[in-house]
């Protein structure tokens, strides 16, 4: 049915197409010539024709729209009828024409008879030809239509040209440009335009009557144009958004590029800054010298930041001002100072960041303003300084941040340069680095100073030590020499006095000699003590305990003092408590020395008045100094001695000084009486050794004073008196008859002398000259062995050990005594350690030997001997 429809459509269209010119012709005729003929009829015919035609057209359209074949049939019928009508009309027209042609009339006649059989096209043709032959009156209307046509013609032509040239231009320019993403779009578009142009071009031929081919071509062109334009339109729907998006993407990329450029710029500047900082740091930290650090900082900063001027203000010693210490450009900066309390300075010191300050502030005006109108911007930053003094660590954090230096940086004038953020950061970093480097330098300086100080101290200490050593050595030498030099005369005196005692004397002479002996032995003791003061101070002095008569002691002391007292007319009284034991154990010699010293002082410092000496037994703690407790043990007691005088007296303030060595009170009275100032010191030492205490009480100058001391003594059961070999009160004729002794001495002379001594005393002496001989000869018969240990070497001492080994039982072993040239502590210790029973100092006096022997035999041990 579709094919039929299409065929029907084609027929219709054909008819329409064929009709059209006829209709047009009719119109023309109508328009041109029918007026003359019959207006009414023309009108009627025209209107009827028009109506019919419109009807036809409408129906045709409907048919086309509805695709209805049936209606088309009807329409065809209508069309045929219309044609019939038209033919009739045409006939009528022809008849009415003034001179109808024969052919025409014949055709018309035939048509009126059988309208359906006619072939319309030939008919119409003939009619039209006729018309054209006949109607010459058509021509005068032609130029007016022709003008319009001509314009249309020309316009169409130009449109075509334009339509053809546009694609060419497009192609040309696209070929030129490198980038065009949508070439096929262009092709499409070109095709579209070309076809449009072609259409318009072909239109040019259709103004006049044209053949079917032209119509066909026209149709084809139109169809193609339609297709392409639709396709293009559809394509553009897709493409235009893409193109738009390209545009937006382009914009986006541009933005991105701009952003990246910015970031690149930022990174580059940062990297630059970093590089500068590294370089600066390296320069600054490569030295530990403060000046180099600061100078380098300024130079490098000036170079990096292209500064006009760079200056450093350091705080002065007082801390109240800032002084211009270093500048970059000026070689010898004038000594500017500014007070530290300026507001601008406080502002800068208050923050660790770099602060922009006014170029007119005092810290920035380094040179006289030379008429520059625009001073460069100025920035100031604080540099913390480490303030060290002897490495005070306690308040380290506070100390280290209190002092700042000020660094001022000036941009070049008239350059309109501004301080950028990264430059400020650079400055801050540099300031920090400088601070660190400066603190390192400060620490280094401080440690160098401390080291120098220590070295100096070391040197001084060394010198002092050497001096002290020299002094000690000198003292020891002196003591050693004097030791011997002083003893020698004393020996002579004692020896000779003792010798004298043994001769025939009158009683008075005897008394005198005895006194001489006593005094000299006392003197010898005193000398010993003075010379042995070092031993006292070492604490190595030991008391020589022995039993003695206390009462007698006191009386002797008084006897000694009495002469002087009598001369000064000072009565002395002695009060001994009734419960005072008679025989006591203690160091008689030293106790006598103490009492003698105190009583002697009393006598010395009194011009008048009585001196009383009281001795009693202390039971309880009355008036003793608080740190001293008196305890009475079984066999011991504390003796208290009080010596009271009414003499010069002592200022209570001076009392503590009394017991110091060599110290004396300043009064004239004491000065004139002389004295070494040692007495009380020595007495105090002895009292301390005796586990006692000594003190002085005085009410004041001119009111006299009382000296009191307590000492611990042992109570003795023995009543006999044994002689301690320093104060030989009575010469003892102890008989050593037949005492077998052995003398060992390498030195022949000494051997002989010692032998002579012992022989004189009545001993039976065997002499040997070597240790081997000694060992060979020694036997249990020998009671004492004297061995010379002068020669350096330990062999002599070894023999003591050998003898010990030889004689296991103590009572069989002979007593061993060493004869030596010096009796210092080390020698004695050595002897003790080797098991010797005693030590004798060579050369030995007769009495000495005698006493030693008796002592030895009695006690079997000898403490000490001269």
């Amino acid at each position: 049915m579709g094919v039929d429809f299409l065929v029907g459509m084609a027929n219709l269209m054909h008819i329409q197409l064929t009709l059209e010119p006829e209709l047009k012709l009719l119109y023309r005729i109508n328009a041109q010539s029918w007026k003359d003929i019959n207006v009414d009829v023309n009108h009627k015919v025209e209107s009827r024709l028009k109506l019919k035609f419109l009807e036809l057209e409408l129906k045709l359209l409907h048919c086309v729209k509805a695709h209805s074949w049936k209606n088309t049939e009807i329409l065809t019928a209508n069309v045929t009828r219309a044609v019939e009508t038209i033919a009739l009309l045409l006939v009528t027209m022809v008849m009415m024409l003034p001179t109808p042609s024969s052919s025409c009339s014949s055709s018309v006649v035939s048509l009126s008879q059988n309208p359906k059989s006619i072939r319309f096209d030939s008919f119409s043709r003939s009619v039209s030809n006729h018309m054209m032959e006949v109607c010459n009156c058509i021509e005068p209307q032609w130029p007016a239509d022709e003008l319009l046509m001509k314009y249309q013609y020309i316009s169409d032509f130009f449109i075509a040209v334009a339509y053809f040239s546009i694609p060419l231009e497009l192609i040309y320019f696209v070929k030129k440009s490198a980038v065009f993403p949508y070439r096929w779009v262009l092709v499409q578009f070109g095709a579209f335009i070309v076809l449009c142009g072609a259409t318009h071009l072909i239109n040019l031929w259709t103004f006049t009557t044209h053949s079917r081919t032209v119509a066909l071509v026209m149709t084809t062109a139109k169809v193609l144009t339609a297709v392409v334009s639709c396709a293009t339109a559809l394509m553009l729907v897709h493409i235009i958004p893409d193109l738009l998006s390209v545009k937006t993407r382009e914009l986006f990329l541009k933005n991105k590029a701009a952003e990246l450029d910015r970031e690149m710029g930022l990174i580059r500047t940062q990297e630059e800054t970093g590089r500068h900082v590294r370089m600066l740091t390296h320069e600054i930290r490569s030295t530990l010298d403060r000046h180099t650090i600061l100078k380098t900082t300024l130079v490098e900063l000036g170079r990096t930041l292209a500064l006009e001027e760079c200056a450093l203000w350091m705080p002065t010693r007082t801390g109240l001002e800032l002084q211009l210490s270093y500048t970059l450009r000026q070689q010898h900066p004038v000594e500017y100072t500014v007070p530290i309390q300026l507001p601008v300075i406080n502002q800068v010191f208050g923050t660790s960041r770099a602060v922009k300050i006014s170029p007119n502030s005092p810290v920035a005006r380094l040179r006289p303003v030379s008429g520059k109108y625009l001073l460069g911007e100025v920035v100031a930053v604080r540099v913390p300084l480490l303030h060290l003094s002897n490495f005070q660590i306690n308040d380290w954090p506070e100390l280290s941040t209190k002092r700042y230096a000020l660094m001022v940086l000036m941009l070049p004038s008239d350059s309109a340069r501004q301080w950028h953020v990264h430059e400020l950061e650079l400055v801050e970093v540099v300031a920090d680095q400088v601070a660190v480097a400066l603190s390192h330098a400060a620490i280094l300086e401080e440690s160098m100073r401390a080291r120098d100080l220590l070295m100096e101290q070391n040197v001084a200490l060394d010198i002092a030590r050497r001096e002290a050593e020299t002094a000690i050595r000198a003292r020891n030498d002196f003591l050693a020499v004097m030791n011997h030099e002083m003893r020698t005369p004393m020996h002579a005196i004692i020896a000779l006095s003792s010798l004298l005692q043994e001769t025939e004397l009158t009683p008075e002479q005897r008394l005198m000699v005895e006194t001489v002996l006593k005094s000299s032995s006392l003197l010898a003791t005193l000398m010993n003590d003075v010379l042995d003061l070092s031993r006292l101070e070492d604490g190595s002095l030991q008391l020589e305990l022995g039993t003695f008569n206390l009462h007698t002691l006191f009386r002797e002391v008084l006897n000694l003092i009495k002469p002087i007292a009598v001369v000064k007319k000072l009565p002395i009284t002695l009060n001994l408590a009734p419960d005072l034991p008679e025989f006591v154990v203690g160091d008689e010699k030293r106790l006598m020395q103490i009492i003698l010293n105190i009583v002697g002082n009393a006598v010395k410092f009194s011009k008048q008045g009585c001196i009383s000496v009281t001795a009693l037994v202390t039971k309880s703690d009355n008036r003793a100094p608080p740190d001293f407790f008196v305890v009475q043990t079984g066999s011991h007691f504390y003796l208290r001695v009080k010596v009271k005088d009414l003499g010069a007296g002592i200022n209570p303030q001076d009392i503590p000084k009394l017991f110091t060595k060599f110290a004396q009170t300043q009064s004239l009275a004491t000065r004139s009486s002389g004295g070494s100032g040692l007495g009380l010191a020595i007495s105090k030492r002895f009292v301390n050794l005796m586990e006692g205490n000594i003190w002085i009480e005085s009410e004041g100058v001119g009111k006299g004073c009382t000296a009191i001391f307590d000492v611990k003594l042992g109570i003795s059961n023995e009543s006999k008196q044994s002689g301690i070999p320093k104060v030989p009160a009575n010469p003892q004729h102890v008989n050593f008859a037949g005492l077998k002794v052995l003398v060992m001495d390498e030195n022949g002379v000494s051997r002989m002398v010692t032998k002579g001594l012992l022989v004189h005393l009545g001993c039976e002496v065997t002499t040997v000259s070597s240790t081997e001989e000694c060992l060979r000869v020694v036997s249990h018969e020998h009671r004492v062995v004297f061995m010379d240990v002068c020669t350096p070497g330990v062999e002599n001492y070894q023999i003591a050990l050998c003898i010990h080994e030889k004689f296991t039982k103590r009572h069989q072993r002979p007593l061993l005594v060493a004869l030596t040239g010096n009796t210092d502590k080390s020698t004695k210790e050595k002897c003790m350690s080797f098991g010797l029973d005693g030590v004798l100092l060579k050369p030995v006096s007769l009495d000495n030997m005698r006493n030693v022997l008796s002592d030895l035999l009695e006690h079997r041990v000898l403490y000490e001997a001269m």
């Binding site: 001769t503 030195n747 002379v749 000494s750 002579g756």
Partner: protein
């Protein structure tokens, strides 16, 4: 010469020796030891001293004249001499020995030489004086007198 005069001159001479310091109290001790049972004690001791000292001084001279002085040998000799002289009471000899010893410790050859000279000097002096003393004593004894006891006042 009269006995008393001889005794007096002996006393003076002895005193002078003590005063000069040539002898010290030890000599007195020695004299003390001399008694009836031991009449020649002093001279015996002194003779022995002279013998000993001569020997020692010779040894010392030899030792010190060596190319390389062995102080370990020198020191004991000096020590011996010191001991002997102090036993006798020859004070100055003994003192010289003390000095000698200290230089020995320092190993100072030059000084030791000087000390040796000094010691010799002192020794010959004391020897001389003692010999004179003994001569005087002998004279007194020969004249039948007693050698007086020493009175000394320092």
């Amino acid at each position: 010469m009269e006995l008393a005069q001889m005794q007096k001159s002996l006393q003076d001479y002895t005193k002078s020796l003590f005063l000069e310091g040539v002898l010290d109290s030890q000599f007195l001790q020695l004299q003390q030891l001399q008694d009836e049972s031991n009449p020649d004690f002093v001279s015996q001791v002194v003779t022995l001293f002279f013998q000993d000292s001569d020997r020692i001084l010779n040894d010392l001279s030899l030792s010190l004249d060596q190319q390389v002085v062995d102080f370990k040998k020198v020191d004991p000799h000096v020590h011996q001499l010191k001991g002997s002289s102090s036993s006798i009471g020859a004070q100055r000899v003994k003192n010289a020995c003390v000095v000698f010893r200290s230089f020995c410790e320092q190993q100072n050859v030059e000084a030791c030489h000087r000390c040796l000279q000094q010691v010799k000097q002192e020794y010959y002096l004391v020897k001389n004086r003692l010999e004179t003393l003994f001569k005087l004593e002998q004279q007194i004894v020969a004249s039948g007198g007693m050698i007086p006891a020493m009175e000394l006042g320092f």
